[in-house]
């Protein structure tokens, strides 16, 4: 049976209470808004790219503890990283939270983000954990697109 303490790990509660990088980037090179229309969670992610790397990242928004903590931990995980690495994290995170809840997930590449492994036992909450990541992914895919069309 799903265990609440798997979902609400201390690090998630703590990042929900004091989210990191909760800020607007006035000089962002890309922003996107993500929302879960059915539950009303909404987030704006700001990214400042410097060449091929995420020089700075911030977010604003309102939502549940899972969505807020996920956004906060995401910003910490991708800040200063190459875009390709951020995309790899997105894929690995997505794979982890949607993996079979009866099997131990692969969290080797995820560091602190492994705290969200418990989400896979709560199918209704997967979209909360994914919201920030999908929003970031939209920004990075768009900048890749605009680069490729130039």
């Amino acid at each position: 049976m799903a265990d609440l303490s798997d979902l609400y790990q201390q690090i998630i509660i703590e990042h929900n209470r004091s989210p990191r990088n909760f800020k607007v980037l006035p000089d962002a090179t890309g922003t996107a808004e993500g929302d879960n229309p059915l539950c009303g969670d909404r987030i704006i992610v700001y990214v400042k790219l410097d060449g091929d790397s995420v020089a700075d990242i911030g977010f604003q928004g309102k939502g549940c503890a899972i969505s807020q903590a996920s956004a906060s931990l995401m910003t910490g995980a991708v800040k200063g990283k190459p875009v390709a690495e951020a995309e790899r994290l997105f894929q690995a995170f997505h794979a982890m939270v949607t993996s079979d809840p009866t099997k131990t997930p692969d969290t080797s590449a995820l560091g602190k983000l492994a705290a969200f492994a418990g989400v896979r036992q709560f199918p209704a909450r997967v979209k909360c954990a994914n919201l920030a990541w999908h929003t970031l992914h939209a920004i990075l895919a768009r900048s890749a697109e605009s680069v490729s069309t130039e």
């Binding site: 609400y8 509660i13 539950c39 009303g40």
Partner: protein, 415 residues
């Protein structure tokens, strides 16, 4: 909705009523089910489950068509349910009872058929600030098509409509007033008779969204003098997929059909079709016959209840819930009108509604979290979402105690 003063009603036996609802004996996540999401849909008594089961086992045939035995029997059951609904809702003429899929379709029928015929450029449709999306969007569609506009009667911070403002917002261009008798997200019981009188004094017809009213009390639609009255079967202990629109006969007769097809015609040729009289005109195609039969059984069940006792029981539940929930640190109620049904929306400092929903679900407690299809209400109170505990006659003080204990647990998880 009953507002009669009840002189010391008989004590309501919730334990006995609970035995009528098989699902209430089940366990969820290893615990006894505590079902507090009745404003979304109510549970079904055995009488309703058995009526639909019997229909499919022994009585199933299409209605109004064949001369064979089963078809005659199915038609008889279907029209019998219409008569039961009419009687229960105080509607003198059963032809004015139209079976639809639910309150949403009932409102869409009126907005689409009556609205297209009656609302023109520059006209106004008057609604309230506490509307369910189902009583906003159908009117917006008509307004967009016709160049009309939606005018909104405001409410105060308790979730009470401002009647003085309502009075002021009627204009010569007001074509209809549409409002909920009971708000689904706030629980407010609106002064329906007063609002209807206000509209009728200006020659404005009224649509009442009664979806949240009928599960909590007796409604006499003719005494209320509503021109249109919309309800959903599944919120009043009947099956999903069936609802009712009650309309004024002269309005229904003047309105064009909502959908075309079989059963709604008088005669069809490629040159010209003439329509069936009401209610057939608005019931194109094979309806949810089993659903209607089940709704008939639900109405029989409701008609046998002592509603004064139910009202007293639900008032107790409401008072007890408010007391117990406000005991949890950081809880604020959303919707504190003086006249309320047993619907309690709240927010908790530092904890989002979805986290509350997940944690109480682990205790086997079903509540609704989110905007409850009332985003304008959430915007008005400046909250993204609320947690809503909505009660029905089978809920008990034990349910409330379980909810309160789970909320204290939420507080513990979030500190």
């Amino acid at each position: 909705m009953s507002v009669r003063a009840a002189p010391a009603p008989a004590r309501f036996d919730a334990a006995r009523v609970r035995r009528d609802f098989p699902i209430l004996g089940t366990r969820v996540r290893g615990r006894p089910l505590v079902y507090l999401d009745n404003a979304a849909t109510s549970q079904k008594p055995l009488a309703v489950i058995e009526a639909t089961d019997r229909y499919y086992r022994e009585q199933n045939a299409n209605i109004h068509r064949a001369v064979h035995f089963l078809s005659e029997q199915a038609s008889h059951l279907y029209e019998g349910a219409r008569a039961k609904v009419a009687t229960y809702l105080g509607v003198a003429d059963a032809r004015r009872v139209i079976f639809v899929r639910g309150a949403t379709e009932a409102i869409n029928l009126v907005a689409s058929s009556w609205g297209r015929m009656s609302v023109g450029a520059g006209d106004e449709v008057l609604v309230t600030a506490m509307e369910h999306h189902a009583n906003i969007v159908p009117w917006q569609l008509v307004c967009e098509e016709k160049g009309a506009r939606l005018v909104v009667i405001p409410m105060d911070r308790t979730g009470t409509l401002l009647l003085g403002e309502a009075e002021r917002l009627f204009s010569p261009r007001t074509r209809i007033l549409a409002f909920p008798q009971v708000s689904n997200s706030l629980g407010t019981i609106n002064p329906a008779a007063e609002l209807i009188a206000m509209a009728h004094a200006r020659g404005v017809p009224v649509l009442v969204d009664g979806a949240q009213a009928v599960p909590h009390g007796r409604v006499d639609v003719d005494a209320l003098d509503a021109d249109f009255y919309a309800i959903s079967g599944h919120k009043m202990f009947g099956p999903t997929g069936v609802g009712v629109l009650v309309g004024r006969a002269d309005l229904l007769e003047a309105m064009p059909p909502y959908q075309g097809g079989g059963d709604m015609i008088h005669s069809v040729s490629f040159a010209k079709t003439t329509y069936a009289p009401i209610p057939g005109k608005f019931e194109a195609g094979t309806p949810d016959i089993a659903g209607v039969v089940g709704l008939g059984a639900a109405v029989d069940y409701l008609a046998a209840l002592d509603w004064d006792a139910v009202a007293a029981h639900e008032a107790d539940l409401l008072a007890d819930t408010v007391e117990q929930i406000c005991d949890v640190p950081g809880v604020t109620l959303i919707g504190t009108a003086a006249h309320k049904a047993a619907v309690v929306s709240f927010v908790m400092d530092g904890v989002h509604a979805h986290d509350i929903g997940t944690i109480v679900d682990q205790e086997g407690i079903a509540v609704r979290t989110g905007h409850h299809c009332t985003q304008p209400v959430m915007d008005f109170f400046g909250v993204p979402a609320t947690t809503r505990a909505s009660f029905a006659l089978y809920n008990t003080r034990e349910d409330i105690a379980a909810l309160a204990a789970a909320l204290h647990k939420v507080r513990k998880v979030f500190g």
